[in-house]
Symmetry: C2
C-alpha cells in the first residue's frame, strides 16, 4: 500500500475555523478540492452513548460495559468514543432496549431476557435451564446459527445484538429452608425471575420478582424463604450470606448468562467499515474478558464465603433436579410454541446442545471427573 501523506489543517497553517464549514478558496484550487475531500467521513469522529441496566461500575456487569467502551476508544484512536450510563442516569434499567431502538442511545448493555415483551425468543439468548454452558453457548452463537436467529428476532426493531459478556455457571441460590425432596418446593417463597421462576412455579413454589436492591431485606425479614442472584462473585458483594443459612448448587436455572450488547442498526451502518469491525470484535474480546474475570472472582469469592463467613454449601438432591429438569423441558417447549421464530431458536439450541454434549461427555466433562 502506498504511503499517503495526510496533512492536517493546522499543519497547513490554516486555522480550524477556515475549514469549519469545509469552504473552498477561490485563490487556491487545491483548497477547493480539499474542501470537498474534508466532507468525507474518513476521519470523522463519533460520540456514542451506551445505556446499561447496571448500577455505576457494578462489579462484573457495569465494569464490563466500561471495558467495552474503553476498548473501542483505544482501538479507534479516539474516533469512536463511548460514554457509559448506569441504570437510571439516562434511562431506567428496563428501558435500555427501547432507548437503543429509538436512537436515544447508539448502544445498550443489558440481558436479552428482559425483552420477553419485545420478542418471545429473547429469553433463550440469555439463559436456559439445564442448557448450554458459556463455551457451548458461544459456539452455538458464532458457529451454530444462534447469532443469526438472535439478530432476526430484533431486526424489525432496528436493533443488532451481540454477545458481550458471560457469567459462567451460576448458583441455585440462598435458602433459609433446606430442600430434601420435591415436596419441599411446594409453597416455598422464592425470588427467581425468568424461565427458572416459571419452572419453580410449576413445581408449586410461590415465585416473586424483586429488583436486586430489595432482595436482602426480603430474605432477612422472611418475606421470602429463598432467592437466586448470580454466583459467589456478585453474591458476596450483596452480603446475602448474612440473610440466609444455605447456599445451594448447582445453578440449574442458569448454566451461564449471556450479556447483550444492543446496537442501533442505523448508527452501526453509518460507521465506516473499520469502525463497524471494531465494534464487533470488541464485543467478542469483551465477551471473553468477562468470563475470565468471573472464573477468577467466583473462585476467590467462594473461598471467602466458605472460610471467612462459614457459608454452608448444600447440593440440590438428585430427585429434585430430575423433577426440575422435566418441568424445564415443559416450560421451554410451551414457550417455543409461541411463534415460528421461537420454535426455530429452541430447536436449534437443543440440536446443538445434544451434538456438543456427546463430545463434551468424553472430553470436558471427563476431565472434570478426573479431579479429586
Amino acid at each position: 500500500m502506498k504511503r499517503r501523506q495526510i496533512l492536517t489543517a493546522a499543519g497547513l497553517g490554516l486555522g480550524a475555523a477556515a475549514l469549519a464549514g469545509c469552504k473552498g478558496d477561490n485563490q487556491n484550487q487545491g483548497l477547493n478540492q480539499a474542501a470537498a475531500e474534508c466532507e468525507s467521513n474518513q476521519q470523522q469522529t463519533y460520540k456514542w452513548k451506551m445505556v446499561t441496566s447496571w448500577p455505576k461500575n457494578f462489579p462484573g456487569l457495569g465494569t464490563t460495559a466500561q471495558r467495552f467502551a474503553d476498548t473501542v476508544n483505544e482501538l479507534s484512536g479516539g474516533r469512536l468514543s463511548v460514554q457509559v450510563f448506569a441504570a437510571g442516569e439516562l434511562v431506567p434499567a428496563l428501558e435500555v432496549f427501547d432507548a437503543v431502538s429509538n436512537g436515544t442511545a447508539e448502544l445498550g448493555h443489558s440481558a436479552a431476557y428482559y425483552w420477553k415483551g419485545k420478542s418471545p425468543a429473547a429469553p433463550f439468548f440469555t439463559a436456559v435451564p439445564f442448557g448450554m454452558n458459556a463455551q457451548e453457548m458461544n459456539a452455538w452463537l458464532y458457529e451454530g446459527g444462534g447469532l443469526e436467529l438472535w439478530q432476526q428476532a430484533y431486526a424489525d426493531m432496528g436493533v443488532v445484538p451481540l454477545p458481550c459478556g458471560n457469567t459462567g455457571v451460576q448458583m441455585a441460590g440462598w435458602f433459609n429452608k433446606e430442600i430434601h425432596a420435591v415436596d419441599d418446593l411446594k409453597g416455598l417463597k422464592i425470588r427467581m425471575p425468568g424461565f427458572g421462576g416459571e419452572v419453580l412455579a410449576r413445581a408449586g413454589a410461590t415465585t416473586v420478582n424483586l429488583p436486586g436492591s430489595e432482595i436482602f431485606t426480603a430474605l432477612e425479614t422472611g418475606v421470602i424463604d429463598a432467592t437466586d442472584w448470580v454466583s459467589p462473585y456478585n453474591d458476596l458483594a450483596f452480603g446475602l450470606y448474612q440473610a440466609a443459612k444455605y447456599y445451594y448448587y448447582p445453578g440449574w436455572q442458569e448454566p451461564c448468562a449471556v450479556l447483550e450488547l444492543s446496537i442501533n442498526q442505523a448508527a452501526l451502518e453509518a460507521l465506516p467499515a473499520d469502525l463497524q469491525a471494531i465494534v464487533r470484535q470488541t464485543a467478542r474480546s469483551t465477551n471473553q474478558a468477562m468470563l475470565d474475570e468471573y472464573t477468577r472472582r467466583n473462585a476467590e469469592a467462594l473461598q471467602t464465603l466458605v472460610t471467612e463467613h462459614r457459608v454452608q454449601l448444600r447440593q440440590l438432591p438428585e430427585a429434585v433436579l430430575d423433577r426440575l429438569r422435566e418441568l424445564s423441558a415443559d416450560v421451554l417447549e410451551d414457550t417455543a410454541n409461541t411463534d415460528q421464530l421461537t420454535r426455530q431458536v429452541w430447536d436449534s439450541m437443543e440440536a446443538f446442545r445434544e451434538k456438543v454434549s456427546a463430545y463434551h461427555a468424553i472430553s470436558e466433562q471427563a476431565m472434570y471427573g478426573l479431579r479429586h
Copy 2:
C-alpha cells in the same frame, strides 16, 4: 472531541511526488509545516509478516492464523496488513520463534511447547497433563498472572507472546492395543510429544516423536502401536480411523492446548497506540473464535467418526489414569525445579487450578453431571 479536517495531498492538487520526501516549499509556509507533519506516522501503513508452524490453511490451526491476519487488516482499515506464511514457506515450522525474535517476521503463530530449548517454562503455556481447561487457562493468563509470567519468559529474547486460539479438551489417542491396566503401558510404542510423552516414558512406554505427516504410515505398518494427535476435528481430517482400532479418551495429556501469537517486541512498540491495541484485542477475540470453532467441529467430527466410520471409543481405566496422574505430578514437579521462573510458573498454575477447581466442582462440573 473536535472534528479535525484531514486533507490528503491529492486533495490539495499536489502530486504524491511533491511530498514523497516530505519536502517543504519556500513559497508556502503552510506546506513547510505540513512537510514536518507528514513525517508523523499518524497514517503510516505497516506490512507485517506472520510465520506459522502449520500447513497452508490447515483446518483450525492455519485458518486461525489467517483469521487473525484478516481481522487486523479489517480493524486497522488496512493500515496494518499481515501476510501469513505456512510452515516452510519462509521458515520451517520449528523456526518460527527465532524468526520473530530476530525480526525476520514481526509475528508468529505456533505453540509455546516447541520452545522448550529457549525457556524451560515455555511448555507450561500450551498444555499441562491433568491441568486446566480452556476457560481456566484463559482466566489464569488474563486474570491470574499467567500472561505476565509468559511474557517474562520471553522478554530477554525480544518476543511478546499472547494466547491466540485454543483447542479445548483433546483425546487420549488412537490405539491398536487395548489398555486394561497400567502394565499394558509397558513396552507400548506410542507417538506422543511433550509432557505427555515424558509421563508415558516413566510408565514404561516407548515414546516416539514423529511429525504429523509420518503418523499415519507408522500406525498402519505397526511401527507404533498408538499415537495422539488432537481431537475429532483434526483427527478425522488425518484419516487416523483407517489405521487404528480404538479411539481413547479422555485427553489427560492436553486438557486444552493454547496457541501462541508471538510478536517481535521492537516492531510492536514502534506501532502507534491504536494499532498496538488492535493487535492485542484481535489476539483475544481470535482466541475465543478458535475455541468456538473447535467446540462445533469436534462435535460434528465425532458424530461422523462414530456413525459413518464405526470408530470404537474406549475409556482409559481409572487405575491407569490414577497412575498417569501420579507420574504427571512427578514430571511437572521435576521440570519446575529447572529454574526459578519455571518454579514460579508451575506454582502459580497449580494454585490457580486448585482455586478454580473448588468452584467448578459445584458449578461447571456439576452441570455436566446433570446431563443424561
